[in-house]
């Protein structure tokens, strides 16, 4: 009897994404704090929007950019959970620019599959919590002005309108950004980590 298990193997796209993540995360990890050691980060994709509809593998022609923000976020959350010393956190978002009426272009944050297919250009931006741009990947046809607009929109979504004012983060968390306002990804990250910390140190009875 011969049993073969065909496991999902990484291809060129995954290798490329690995390189992008490597360079982004290396800048965020305090690598000099632990010389001659290895930090191993493994990211297993469990579900993608297109795979939810059918179990067929993603076609090779598909863009790799929509994968980048969730991978980066997951990697960073895992690093935080593993107590790896970091210089700071970063959040990232996918931005799609689609042609509007005339010369104007519409900016879509977190676009759906359909919007990605219809977009004229795709961008991934990662902003650190201190308001620095740590990753910018673009694909498609666009102009510098559009890129700047997209970057600003992404910054707003990632670290809020204040532009990375860390000292205001506690206040922001306290009143949960009002009712109508969308919580920025950075404050979401802080809230999640704070909740997790509270849960894992509950046994101390200090809360």
């Amino acid at each position: 009897m011969h049993v073969l298990i065909q496991y999902a193997a990484p291809g060129p796209r995954e290798r490329h994404l690995e390189t992008l993540l490597y360079s982004t995360l290396r800048a965020l990890i305090l690598t000099h704090a632990q010389p001659r050691s290895l930090i191993q980060l493994t990211l297993q994709i469990l579900r993608t929007p297109s795979a939810a509809a059918s179990s067929a593998p993603v076609p090779q022609t598909a863009t790799h950019l929509p994968w980048l923000p969730p991978l980066l976020q997951t990697g960073l959350l895992a690093l935080l959970n593993g107590n790896v010393p970091l210089t700071g956190t970063a959040t990232s978002v996918l931005v799609a620019l689609s042609k509007g009426a005339g010369n104007s272009s519409a900016i879509v944050l977190d676009p759906t599959e359909k919007e990605v297919a219809a977009a004229s250009s795709l961008h991934v931006f990662a902003w650190s919590s201190r308001g620095e741009l740590v990753l910018a990947e673009s694909e498609g046809a666009f102009e510098v002005g559009q890129w700047k607009e997209a970057a600003e929109a992404a910054k707003k979504r990632c670290i809020g309108a204040k532009g990375g004012a860390i000292e205001d983060a506690d206040v922001e968390m306290g009143d949960a950004n009002g009712v109508g306002a969308v919580q920025s990804l950075d404050s979401w990250l802080r809230t999640s980590v704070a909740t997790e910390m509270a849960n894992s140190t509950r046994w101390r009875g200090e809360v």
Binding site: A78, L80, W188
Partner: protein, 153 residues
């Protein structure tokens, strides 16, 4: 008379603006365009049923108009695949979700889901590096990405 009123209701639905139709007769997360399509379909269904009822001369007065409308709508939603409306809403620009410590034996792990993506990430480190990977001044970072299915492209 009641049949006629039903039909007029349906025509009015079509005449209403997309957003009004959406708020009145569509589940959450359904777009205005789809709402209009639903309204048109509803009109067709009502018209067809009227025709059948006139022909068979059967009378089902026990069912009220709103109840029948709801029934029709449910049938249409099923037909065009709107039954999982909750999934539809979570797909569009929702807040992400994270579960920490999803793998107990790794140093750190997190399961993250956002916009239809679910990824599980694990961190091991700092651990001993292989001799050839070892950097004397800093730690070596290794990133592995595994696709959900098939061979990656």
């Amino acid at each position: 008379m009641r049949l006629l009123r039903l039909q007029i209701d349906a025509i009015l639905l079509v005449a209403l603006s997309g957003s009004a139709v959406q708020s009145l007769y569509c589940p959450e997360g359904c777009r205005a365009e789809d709402a209009i399509v639903i309204a048109v379909l509803l009109h067709l269904v009502v018209a067809a049923e009227n025709f059948l009822r006139v022909r068979s001369k059967s009378d089902r007065k026990s069912q009220s108009t709103p109840a029948r409308l709801r029934h029709f709508l449910e049938t249409i939603y099923l037909a065009i695949g709107f039954e999982n409306t909750t999934q539809h809403t979570t797909m569009s620009a929702s807040q992400p979700e994270v579960i920490f410590n999803s793998l107990p034996h790794a140093d750190g792990s997190a399961t993250y889901s956002c916009n239809g993506y679910t990824i599980i990430g694990t961190v091991n480190g700092p651990i001993e590096a292989q001799r050839r990977d070892e950097l004397s001044e800093e730690s070596f970072l290794e990133v592995n990405i595994r696709p959900a299915s098939g061979t990656g492209g």
